[in-house]
Each structure stands twice: as C-alpha cells, then as structure tokens.
Subunit: 421 residues, 2 copies
Amino acid sequence: MRQSQLFTKTVKDVSKEEVSKNAELLIRAGYVYKEMAGVYAYLPLGFRVLEKIKQIVREEMNAIGGQEIIMTAIQRKELWEKTNRWDDEMVDVWFKSQLKNGTDIGFGWSHEEPITEMMKQYLNSYKDLPVYVYQFQTKLRNELRAKSGIMRGREFVMKDMYSYTTDAEKHQEFYDSVIEAYLRIFSRVGLGDDTFVTFASGGAFTEFSHEFQTITEAGEDVIYINREKNIAINEEVMNEKTFAELGVTRDELQEVKTAEVGNIFNFGTVKCEQLGLNFTNESGESIPVHLGSYGIGITRLMGVIVERFSDEQGLVWPEAVAPYQVHLVSLCKETADIEKTDEVYTALTSAGIGVLYDDRADIRPGEKFADSDLIGIPYRVVVSPRTLEQQSVEVKKRTEKEATIVSLEEFRKKPQSFVCS
Amino acid sequence: MRQSQLFTKTVKDVSKEEVSKNAELLIRAGYVYKEMAGVYAYLPLGFRVLEKIKQIVREEMNAIGGQEIIMTAIQRKELWEKTNRWDDEMVDVWFKSQLKNGTDIGFGWSHEEPITEMMKQYLNSYKDLPVYVYQFQTKLRNELRAKSGIMRGREFVMKDMYSYTTDAEKHQEFYDSVIEAYLRIFSRVGLGDDTFVTFASGGAFTEFSHEFQTITEAGEDVIYINREKNIAINEEVMNEKTFAELGVTRDELQEVKTAEVGNIFNFGTVKCEQLGLNFTNESGESIPVHLGSYGIGITRLMGVIVERFSDEQGLVWPEAVAPYQVHLVSLCKETADIEKTDEVYTALTSAGIGVLYDDRADIRPGEKFADSDLIGIPYRVVVSPRTLEQQSVEVKKRTEKEATIVSLEEFRKKPQSFVCS
C-alpha cells in the first residue's frame, strides 16, 4: 500500500477526554476513529490488525473442531425470558428497542441463548454430539463507563465459542483442549509470556473456573501470580484452601494488574435444561446437553497488545498481527532514485511481504521517521539518496535502535532474509 | 468437511410463516436459521457462501482503489440531526435506544453521515483527494414488513462504498468505474445475464441515477428492458423524454419483475456542505467535497442467487459462490471401500478443491442423493461398492441429469480435470 493513497494520517492532538493509552495511540496513528466513548471504527490499518488477530483465532478454533457461523444482533425477548436474562435487573448491559408493531427486541451482548435454542433444530441423539461452534460477533453492551479505549467497548468484536457435549467428562476433554488452543493464540499474538491461566471461582459445577489474564497496567483486574510455578489466582479464590490445592504459599505470590483476555465457562446442563435442549442417549433416555462457552475479546486483545508493546515513540506491533511487515520509507526526490525505491517495493511485494510504502512527497525525513515509529510496523526500510549512493538500503527493527546497512542488490534478490524474524 | 461432523442437517418442514422461496430452501438445506422475520443467522454452509460473495466484492472494490474499514453500529443523534435524518418522520427504519445516562443513540441503517464526519479528520487539501472507502457492515433497519427472506432484512450485510472527490468530473470518472466493477461482480457471481444497469430518476445532480436490477419473480421492483439494446428503465422515468434519449420505443420494452442488487448514488456536495467537509483547492479556496455512495446488499445478493438458480430439488449454486465445489457422496459400508473413498477425499482436498464429504453411516442412498440435491453443491461425486467394482467413481453436475463414469485412478491423479468448469 502506498502511503500517499492511504486516507488516514497521523494526528497530533487527541481529544482530552480520551484517557486510555491504547485508544490515544491508535487514534494518533490513524488505526481507529472514536465515534463515542467505547465505540470505535477501525480504519484501514486497524482493520488489517483486527483481521490478522481474527485469522489466528480462526485457525486455532478450526484446529479443535470449531465450525464458524454468524448469529444475529437482534434478539427475541421471549427467548431470554426463559433463562431469566431479559430483565434489566438481571443483566444491566442490554440495549433494547422495538419493532414497528411494538414487539420488544434486544441487541446481542452474548449468544448462549440463541445458539442453544437454534441447536434444538439439529441435536437430537447422542450421535449428533459433540458440536463446537464459534463466531466473530459484534457485541453491543450498554456499559455504564467506557474509559479503557478499545479494551472495554459498548460495541466490540468477540470470538465466542460454544460446546455441546453428552456428559461432564466429554465437556472436560474439550474444555482442556480450549485451554491449550487459547494458550497457543496468546502466544502467537505475542502475549504468551504475560498471559496466565488464572484460577477463579467455579460456580455450580466445578471448584474452579479459568480466566486468561494478561499483565498490563491498563487492566481492570488484579491477580496473584507465581511465574516459576506458572500459577495464577484470582482475588475471589485467594484463600488457604486454594493455596494448599495448588501447592503455593501466599508469600510466593506477586500481585499484578491484568486484563481478562479470555474466559472459559462451564454451564453444566443448566442452560440446556432451561431452554429444553435434550438429546437421547445410548440407553434411549432424553437428557439435557452439557454447554460450555469460551470467549476472546478480539478488539480488547488488540488493545492489550498496544498497551503491552508500545513505547514513547508510538505503537510496536508483534509481527504476527502487524498491519504490514515492512514500512518502506523513501527519502528520494529524483526520478531515478524514486524508480529504484519502487523496485524495492516491487521486490518486497513479489516476495509476498506486506508493505506500507511511504512514497509521500513534501514530507520531511524527520516527520516520516516519527510517523513510522508511531505507526509501529516491525521493520523499517529506508531508501535515500545517501543509501543509494552506497548501493544500499537501511534496515531497522522497530524494537531496536541501530539500523543495518544492506546491499541494495542482495536486498532486492531476497528481501525476506532481512525483514522476517 | 466431513458431513458427519457438520452440525446442521437438512430439515423437512419449515414454519408456514416463511413465505419466501430463498429462505425456505436455505432453512431446509441448513444454510440459515431464522431468528425472526427478516433476521437470519448464517450457519456453516451459509457462512461460507457469504464469505465467498464478500471476497469477490472485496477484490473488485480493492481493484478500483477502495480501502476497507469498518464503521460502528452505534450512531450519535447530533450527527444525524445535522442532515435532518434523525427524525423518524424523515427516516422510518431507525432502531433507537439509550445509553445509561439517557443519551439517545441509533443503530446504523446507513453510514454516509459518520464516514463523512470522520473524513473531516483526514481530508483538508486537494492533495488528500480522491478517497474511496468501503465496508461490509451489518445494517439494522426497522422494516415494517420483512417477507422476502434474506432479500429484505431487518438485519443484513451490506457492502457500502463512499467516494470523496474534488469535483463533478472526478466524481463521474469514479462513478463510471464503479459501474464496471459492479457489472464484473454480478457476472462473477453468476447473475451477469439477468442484471441490468437501470435508469432511474436522478435527484438533484444528474438527469438519471443508476440501479442494478436482477430479474427475479421474487423481486419487489418492476423495470422495463430491451435485451438486444441492453437498456433497462425504472418505472419512475418511463416517459417519452427518456425513450428519446435512450433511443428506444415503448413497445420495444418488456416488463419484468426485479430485485435491486446494487445502487450507486451521487450526493453532489450537499452532504459535505451539511456536515462541513470542505477542502482547500489549488487556488486556496475552501469548497465542499463531492460524495458518492455505492451499495451492494450482500445477503440480498445471496437470496437472489438462490431464487435464480434453485429448482424443484433444491439449491443450485454457481461455482464461484458455492460453499464447496464437490459433494463427495459415499455409499460404502465395508472398511476397504470406505478407505478408498477417504483416498478420493484426500485427493480432492490436496488439489485445493473444497469438498463436503457425505461420510454418514446409516443413511440410505436415496436420502443422501436428495440431501445432495437440496444442498446444491456444483459437482456430486459418488463412490459406491458398485462404482468401486468397476474401479470408478460417478461424477454429476448439479445442473445436469446424466452422470459420467470416471476411472478411479484417473480421478485420483487429477481430480480438478473432472470437477471444475
């Protein structure tokens, strides 16, 4: 992509009411646009990051047998009344409206109910189970406060997966495979070292439930970790019983601020009992299905990545989720030099490498470098009259201070050996 | 995909209240699930079709310089008041709700206003223009009636593109390139012969505007066409003046029912004047930007494709949008035969061909064939004890009656030569 064509520009000033670092940086760098608190549009660069994250999540969900679908935003009152989750006293994040004929509708803040209801059409026998489905859905939640940028939205993208199994044992097997898949996801997006499977209170069916918490000052949660033992505990279950079970003592634990990037939840058979999703088992009995639900906030994850890796100069994207792999910055003004830079651009794109090409005329080098740091693409490749004089280009990682001089010929021949980790 | 793993099944009975052919077939074949009138979820097969259509549209939008973004569902009242489109008297399809603090919000039924407002952050000079952006957005519209299945939804996916240009001439150039891109899209999805660029009333800026209308009995529009002259006219402009300008007479025109699959619209400078999107031209004057908007209803397009190609037995997908290219139907019961069918499956997937593999046990051949016709995948490949006895497989196009016998060895060696047009 030629930067001269990209409609977004870096902006210097962000409204004072934007208090979160992630949104401030993403707005300044032109990744997102703030519609209102907790409601952000994703511009070309931001859209690309979201799609990269989604693709990683999609691959891991497919690998454990997930089938992708897309449910609806519009929700029926009667359905949610069956599980006592329509009432604003019970669920305080509903946005509601009405059809022209006065019928009440809500906008989906979660999808256990409609997916389970839908499954009644397809799941009848033990032979139909297990089923694992997931979606990337824009959730709408009427949050009282929305001050964490894209980490807590009134409108946000969530990957939600649902498992339908015959019994507790089959549920547990899949639940464990989701834990593994989630760990692979957080590792692939660059948050592996800072993300902990955290013990939390288990609800009705299990002693513990599990949250995926990533260490970040911008988080709204507090957990207690022991890195050596790879143990993390939520405040709710910080007690002697838990310590004994996990083989850890209070003073071995360190308090850290975190953001919940994923959750996995066991509904047991309660939800399917409420909604009447039964199946016939091998003995011919009709019994309720076991339901698990597994969420990853996609836009939140993007926000956490920003918080974790940004520095004084701006964003710093891990390669797996960066909008482009290379920021090719041209400081050339003469036609012959520009042609040589164009050839570098072609060499990179021909090698299948994503490139943002700063071909803008009339922009000073200092401003180009500042923009490049703010936008945070993993590799910066500079072509200037000076580098061309030496038949070279200058390659620098966003995370490093020093640039490397690479021969123009070698770079053009095999660019991937200089700009991929 | 192994059909034994696919959670959807074909269903025999669809609620009587579903009166549209497209929704009835899509529900029966397991592509969509009806949440309520005009509100449909897309299940694994339906999701794949939608993504195929989106990808074709995306390629054509990128080819004419479109930059993909995603705006928000939640809309600000103040913004839409500026253009007099907040009032329910002016726009009767709003869904509205409120934030916790009582602030009114609406849910996006169109996005000219927020995109134009957002552009004020980025468009200042003639050097910043033109800009072309697009999105695939879930639109929410409080339609009074929703009886056309996925062809008219209360919740539906739309590709909407917006062009920002310096003047009427630049606008016209891009407008013309969108017409060409749209024609390529409709041709690629299989509707080329039945889709007409239709003259409609032009509004304030041009004598005519253009609609893309596809002939279908399920459509809600009526147009008048002359296939030889490739002329189509909307009812609004059916008059002597139009006939004279287009060089056609009334009795050369045939009345047909159609569905509007695409629209392109010239806002001139009105919208940008209302919202204050100005730019500085080469003479240093501040003048308003020209706006065009260009829509394709993605879910509607899917509905029209269903209506156009289905037959008595079920769906008939054009290859470009089919969920899978091949429906591999196994009638085998013996382990050795099943292994041979598995090898055919592997040969197809290794060749990069999308396959739905009906590996279900306990299902009679007649039912498998009926399901296959209902699901409507372009090529059916049958492997049975009988075909294996002859060292062969049976290949049949969904659109043809007769099957072809192909040698198992040849098919496994180069499956693409038998199942791709």
